[in-house]
């Protein structure tokens, strides 16, 4: 029985992982604490709903279109909200409050246009496959395989390609990147597009599995951000490890207590890390003047 919960948690963890590395990519490379990442995630799910259930275009066409829309929203957010603040060298708090404002605007726009009630993309019961005592639905298997594929692709992109080197350089020192001939504005747009694309992939995985409503983005965003902290701030791939751990722990907590505590355990874990290991699993201690 416990194995089943661990397997469910692993599937959930891979979805968290994909969204969390997207959040981490944006945060580390542009220093924008992108709360509206949650809204991008939610909007990708609603785009998929619109394309699949309302316009009735097939899954093969709907998924890439929803991902393109997600990336587009990310680019739009950078272009309309964050870039003017970045040009003015606004403080992190100002950027964060703007991001909160953007999140509120996007969520309430969707709520006004599509209603507050939950929607289901694919009604009916999903076919299952049994592996010994563990039973997984087909979409959960897709989450596992897709999650591994996306995360490996992302690892390759960040560690082995020129784009990844540029992103890491921008994370390290954005001014120096400009001095050495990099185009910071363009690279920020790329980071937002790629991060939002990852949020979109996460949204596709969840929305094909369970229902959606305008408020699904925030719990996902909080989990992604907590995953970044407990993994240690600064490493582009580390959030995936924290996210998978969070997925498994959340699922196991449901087994031992009840689903009511599923989301608070994330924060209990966060506080535990703050007290015992504030630099995170893979993090390096920093002094105040280094921040």
């Amino acid at each position: 029985m416990i194995l089943q919960f661990i397997a469910d948690g692993l599937c959930l963890g891979f979805v968290y992982g994909v969204v969390a590395v997207g959040f981490g990519l944006i945060y580390y490379s542009t220093r924008v604490f992108h709360l509206a990442h949650g809204a991008v995630y939610m909007l990708a799910a609603y785009s998929l709903y619109l394309l699949l259930a309302v316009l009735n275009i097939g899954l093969i066409a709907a998924i890439p279109s929803a991902l393109v829309i997600a990336a587009g929203i990310g680019i739009g957010a950078e272009w309309a909200v964050y870039r003017p603040l970045h040009r003015r060298a606004a403080s992190p708090s100002v950027v964060l409050i703007s991001s909160l404002g953007l999140y509120i605007v996007l969520v309430n726009l969707v709520a006004i246009l599509a209603g507050n009630e939950p929607r289901v993309l694919r009604p009916g019961i999903e076919k299952t496959v049994a592996f010994g005592s563990v039973v997984l639905t087909r979409i959960q298997i897709a989450q596992l395989i897709g999650g591994v594929a996306v995360l490996s692709g992302y690892w390759f992109l960040m560690e082995r390609s020129r784009l990844g080197r540029l992103c890491r350089a921008m994370a390290d020192n954005p001014d120096l990147l400009g001095v050495l001939g990099g185009n910071e504005g363009q690279l920020r747009l790329v980071a937002f597009a790629l991060g939002s694309l990852l949020a979109g992939i996460g949204a596709v995985f969840t929305s094909l599995d369970i229902g959606i409503d305008p408020y699904i983005g925030f719990p996902m965003l909080l989990t992604a951000a907590v995953a970044c902290i407990i993994s240690g701030v600064g490493n582009f791939l580390a959030p995936a490890v924290g996210a998978i751990a969070l997925g498994i722990i959340q699922s196991v907590v449901v087994y031992y207590t009840s689903a009511r505590w599923q989301h608070s355990v994330t924060f209990v874990l966060l506080i535990g890390f703050l007290l015992l290991r504030p630099e995170g699993i893979f993090g390096i201690k920093k002094r105040l003047e280094e921040m």
Binding site: S91, S93, L96, L100, I229, R260, S264, F267
Partner: protein, 289 residues
């Protein structure tokens, strides 16, 4: 007339909340998204004292203030281990934990059923039963809180706090214990929010956890950010403006199902626009840098 007084009571409650959040956000420079948690804890401590133990208002109010201040102190020390953006995330996490506990600890808080039948505040035989009487009580307390916050910003404590906010390393170099000052401010702010919590519980005579969500914390941050942080008038302007907004929207005849969403949409847009063009808010002094 009673409708107008009801609005005044709401403004009074939110002025108390906004002033206390302004201590944390404006003077200590800590963007905190767990203020609704302090508000809720204050309300629940007050309600439990009044309903279960039959304490009078004059004892239960200071007790709930004290309890929440003491609770806020360790909270501050945990969250202050994070800096900047992640501090905000830590406070959000705390807000979620407090909400979940209020919602799920059914034995004490009655969880989603809430606690009803809370008596009106009685001070030395005078019961604030009618709406004008309650308005007077709220007005007096809101005035006292404003005066307290104003004094606090003038004494050396307030000046030290602003110094730490503006340059933490320099303040520490002249021997100020930054973490301690921030934590104490957190504790004072939480305690004042408990006053609003007790008043709220006494006014609507019913509490349930859904009044103290993360959305409420975000709303409080929006009040301070829109009105302006770092001085006395900013939070007052913000509270009046954002509370009058839904009343103004009544005249536009929106359907009930979307009215709350339209209100939130407007303050979301206000937040983005102000941060872009006037980060210190409408009447504030501190621009969150």
């Amino acid at each position: 007339m009673n409708y107008f007084l009801h609005l005044l009571i709401l403004v009074g409650l939110y002025v108390i909340l906004a002033q206390s959040l302004n201590l944390i956000m404006g003077y200590a420079g800590l963007l905190s998204l767990c203020h609704a948690a302090f508000f809720g804890l204050g309300a629940y401590v007050y309600v439990l004292l009044v309903v279960a133990l039959h304490w009078p208002f004059v004892l239960a109010l200071p007790m709930s203030v004290l309890a929440v201040s003491l609770l806020a102190l360790p909270v501050a020390f945990v969250c202050l281990r994070l800096r900047g953006d992640f501090f905000v995330l830590g406070t959000m996490g705390l807000q979620m934990i407090v909400y979940t506990v209020l919602y799920n600890w059914v034995d004490v808080t009655q969880g989603p059923y809430g606690i009803s039948g809370i008596p009106k505040p009685t001070i030395l035989g005078w019961e604030a039963r009618s709406i004008p009487a309650f308005c007077l009580l709220t007005g007096v307390l809101a005035g006292a809180v404003c005066l307290f916050c104003y004094r606090l910003s003038r004494i050396p404590f307030g000046r030290t706090l602003r110094a730490i906010r503006d340059d933490e390393l320099a303040a520490m170099a002249i021997g100020k214990n930054a973490a301690w000052f921030k934590a104490v401010t957190f504790s004072i702010g939480g305690g004042i929010a408990a006053i609003a919590g007790a008043l709220y519980a006494g006014y609507v005579s019913y509490v349930d956890p859904t009044a103290f969500t993360l959305e409420e914390s975000i709303f409080l941050v929006a009040i301070v950010a829109v009105g302006g942080a770092g001085n006395l008038r900013g939070p007052v302007i913000g509270a009046i403006l954002l509370l009058m907004l839904p009343e103004a929207l009544r005249f536009v005849q929106l359907p009930d199902s979307v009215a709350p969403n339209v209100r939130q949409l407007i303050y979301g847009v206000l937040l983005i626009a102000l941060m872009r063009f006037r980060p210190q808010g409408i009447g504030g002094q501190y621009a969150f840098d």
